[in-house]
């Protein structure tokens, strides 16, 4: 479970987060939806402990991201904004490196790698160096290495960015599977249809604030618009940045 309470973060004069609070429950997919620059990536970076909030706090399964980063990091699996691989290592070696950093080794590690390779349909490419991989293959490897330790909390920053239709579909199935396994999935996107199709809960952010949140049905009721897209536009106050 993820809890963010009143997160504030500024970079110089730019206010990235201006009091963001939300909750993500286990066994549900929570969508962090907002236009580019709304603060989604900054919020995810705070949850991943690589940034500290100026104010407010965030916890994963009750562990504070600032005070207990190691606890948080061993419980989450994240596909961050940057997802570069090591081009001179094979896909398998890339995944294995992260498994080892999580303290895994030997047969359990190799089994976990095999399972993810199978789930993500990476069999053909797994023993090739990742140099020259397609965008879809890269994203799959980045997800596999992030989940190799079997985390119960999964954070995905724009996981379908730059993917073609087939890869996007595969990604959706994979996210649904994580939910079926009981994981807490937080995933950010600026694509409204994607969030509407997948998410149990939606947190709508704009300009560093939570504009609206709830289930898609609740959001429709809240804004009085039967169509989800209209509801989002009404909540954000403008259609800027939303597709």
């Amino acid at each position: 479970m993820i809890e963010a309470r009143n997160l504030h973060k500024r970079f110089g004069d730019v206010i990235a987060l201006d009091g963001v609070s939300f909750r993500c429950e286990d066994g549900r997919i929570t969508g962090l939806l907002g236009p580019n620059g709304a603060g989604k990536t900054t919020a995810l970076r705070i949850l991943c402990t690589v940034m500290h909030p100026d104010e407010g706090s965030a916890t994963v399964d009750g562990f504070d991201t600032v005070r207990a980063p190691r606890e948080v990091l061993s419980r989450i699996g994240a596909l961050p904004d940057q997802r570069g691989l090591y081009p001179r290592l094979t896909a398998r070696e890339n995944i294995r490196y992260y498994g080892r950093l999580h303290g895994m080794r030997g047969l359990p590690l190799e089994r976990a790698i095999e399972r993810l390779i199978h789930l993500l349909d990476l069999e053909d490419a797994v023993d090739r160096r990742t140099e020259g991989f397609s965008q879809g293959q890269r994203t799959k490897v980045a997800i596999a290495r992030a989940l190799v330790h079997g985390p119960r909390t999964v954070l995905l920053d724009e996981p379908t960015n730059g993917l073609d239709v087939m890869s996007t579909r595969a990604m959706r199935h994979f996210v649904l599977r994580l939910k079926d396994d009981g994981c807490c999935v937080l995933f950010s996107s600026h694509v409204m249809q994607e969030v509407a199709a997948l998410c149990d809960d939606v947190v709508l952010v704009g300009a560093g604030r939570v504009v609206a949140s709830g289930t898609p049905d609740a959001l429709r009721a809240q804004t009085g618009r039967p169509d989800l897209e209209d509801a989002f536009v009404a909540a954000l106050g403008s259609a800027e940045g939303l597709e």
Partner: protein, 398 residues
């Protein structure tokens, strides 16, 4: 603690495997260190030939107009010169010397005998090219022989007039050369510290860049930091991997140097046997090793502040120049070791290594000071490197 080192080891192993597959990293660690010794031996061979002034080699002296000066020819032959017929005329002689076919030509012009008989200075020309260092030995010998003949004739004339030839010598300059053959050769060996510095600063350079600026540029830093690994563990693993490559490169420089000294017949060109006991190389490595502890964190810090691989490469390539320049000077102007010089990291080491090469006494106290100061500074830099990685700005560069 054991789990901790476990993660350091994981990072170290990954960086080593990754960089063993990188052409640039391998070139820097394995090929560049060979260039120094090879270059130096080449230099030794060339410089050695020109320094060979001891004259036990037969001097071949082409002469024009030898028939006009039979006495001179007899004197020169007597002094060990091999007189051969020169080019047909002065123009041809100049052309041959200019082209480098001949080192020096002695020309006895017409009228030589007349001038000599009249007791006036008789002209003898030496055709030479002073800009050719490899001819300098033969030119010097030819000039000295002619000078010797001139003085012998002059002395005979004085004697014939009842004057002691010694009155023309106001000074009797005697040279007392205390240079041992070993120390003369060591003047050239003094380039070794200079090449060692390069190995120390270049050997692990690409790994250092790849692990810092490269990691950020390819976007693999942020996901890496989202692993339950302390920042100091990450930095330690990367630093150790870089140090490993650097040590490899320094050892290779020393081994290459030792092998070349052993198997390249330098005594032919230098006339001196360069003997360095294998143990000397261990001593040199022990003196040089602390510099690695200094150089690698320094490379990390510099590379961390750059925005891209290319930029880091530009800065790090210049890093060895600062410590190497004094090394260049040392090769020609040896500095006596003192506590003050030992306090300057890399400078102290170069002086000490020079002394080992010259077969001179190395004060253990000096080694201790130099090593202590260098390691101390290295630890400070290490702490700075770790701190840099603890900041969140590390994600974006600074």
């Amino acid at each position: 603690m054991r789990a901790s080192f476990g993660r350091v080891w994981v990072v170290l192993a990954k960086e080593v495997v990754d960089n063993l597959r990188d052409r640039r990293s391998l070139l820097a660690a394995l090929v560049y260190p060979m260039l120094g010794p090879v270059l130096m031996i080449g230099l030794l061979a060339i410089v050695g030939r020109t320094l060979d002034e001891r004259g036990d080699r037969l001097l071949t002296l082409p002469m024009i107009g030898a028939e006009r000066a039979p006495d001179l020819v007899a004197f020169l032959t007597n002094q060990g010169a091999n007189i051969v017929d020169g080019p047909p005329d002065l123009v041809a002689a100049e052309a041959a010397v200019k082209a480098g076919d001949l080192d020096v030509v002695v020309v006895v012009p017409e009228g030589y005998r007349t001038l000599l008989a009249e007791g006036r200075p008789a002209t003898v020309r030496l055709v030479l090219d002073a800009s050719r260092t490899d001819s300098a030995v033969d030119i010097g010998r030819a000039a000295r022989l002619l000078d010797g003949y001139s003085r012998q004739l002059g002395a005979q004339r004085l004697l014939a007039r009842g004057v002691d030839p010694a009155v023309t010598e106001a000074l009797a300059v005697e040279r007392v050369d205390v240079a041992t053959p070993q120390s003369q050769a060591a003047r050239l060996l003094n380039l070794l510290p200079y090449f060692l510095i390069f190995s120390v600063f270049i050997g692990g350079m690409y790994l250092a860049i790849d692990a810092t600026a490269g990691e950020r540029e390819r976007g693999s830093l942020e996901p890496l930091l989202i692993n339950p690994v302390a920042r100091w563990e990450l930095v330690a693993g990367k630093l150790l991997a870089t140090m490993l490559f650097t040590v490899l490169s320094v050892v290779e420089t020393l081994v290459a140097f030792a092998l070349l000294l052993r198997y390249v017949p330098l005594e032919e060109s230098l006339g001196v046997r360069l003997s360095l006991a294998p143990s000397s190389f261990f001593v040199i490595f022990a003196i040089a090793a602390p510099m690695i502890l200094l150089a690698v964190p320094l490379q990390f810090i510099v590379a961390t502040f750059t925005r891209s691989f290319k930029e880091a490469q530009n800065y790090l390539s210049f890093l060895p120049l600062a410590p190497a320049l004094p090394g260049m000077v040392l090769a020609f102007l040896p500095v006596k070791p003192s506590v003050a010089t030992m306090l300057v990291p890399t400078f102290g080491q170069q002086i000490l290594i020079n002394r080992v090469l010259r077969g001179e006494f190395v004060d253990p106290w000096h080694v201790a000071i130099s090593t202590g100061v260098t390691i101390g500074l290295g630890i400070v830099l290490l702490a700075i490197a770790v701190r840099l990685y603890a900041r969140e700005r590390i994600l974006f560069g600074t």
